[in-house]
Amino acid sequence: MDRVPILRLGDCLLVTVQVDMHDQLAMTLQDDLTNKIVATKARGVLIDISALEMVDSFIGRMLGNIAAMSRILDAQTVVVGMQPAVAITLVELGLSLPGIRTALNVDAGLALLRSVLDRSDEGAHVD
């Protein structure tokens, strides 16, 4: 069966969605990613959707689920690379992806994750 590959990058996981995702593939990715977060003790998840030609409400919900599940597993999620046309369409559709951090590209996303993780580490020391 098709699977979206999940790469390890230090304490982060990188997911590059490169195919036109059908619903089952999206569900499988959700499961695989949560398992991998636990197995690798990852602190951050970066999802690159620059190759996706559209994000409909189903994929939007999947991204939200991944962000929520990651948070519960003590990992932060950043979605990167959304095409402008996809962003315009999403907003018109009525979906603003609440609770999902975004960045323009993988570099910016990694930097954002770094700063979020550093901040949460400081917080842990203070507490």
Partner: protein
């Protein structure tokens, strides 16, 4: 006037992907902008999933509309013989769902289209037609 209508099955997740691809090919061929392509593909994806999830599968008719040299469009008609929708107004409300989705699909597809028509009869089926002009 419309030429080369195509009818595709909507019976699996892979079919939904094929519908998106067929709609994209037609929209590109008609010279839709990237944003307009994305809108009509997204609307098609929402409606195809509804046909699959709520209608128990069905089919879509994909039509190329050519009304004069400056008016080209895509018309999509999704049809199923599922349980039908008893309250269409409610089904068109953002956030309302009888499944486990976000309840944005049907009204989202309407927002992304220039023309929207829905017919449904409980126990008989549902037909949704959208048109997006270039």
């Amino acid at each position: 006037m419309s030429i080369e209508p195509t009818t595709l099955p909507v019976r699996s997740g892979e079919d939904v992907v094929k519908v998106r691809q067929a709609v994209r090919t037609l929209a590109m061929d008609l010279g839709f902008s990237l944003v307009d392509q994305t809108k009509v593909i997204t609307a098609a994806s929402e409606l195809a999933r509804n046909t699959l999830t709520y209608g128990g599968g069905g089919e879509v008719r994909i039509e190329r509309l050519n009304q004069g040299p400056k008016r080209a469009g895509v018309r999509l008609t999704f049809e199923d013989r599922g349980p039908g929708i008893s309250n269409i107004d409610l089904a068109l409300t953002d956030g309302y769902t009888t499944g486990n989705g976000l309840g944005l699909g049907l009204n989202g597809a309407r927002k992304l289209s220039h023309e929207f028509d829905i017919w449904s009869q409980p126990g008989v089926g549902t037909r949704v037609t959208i048109t997006r002009w270039k």
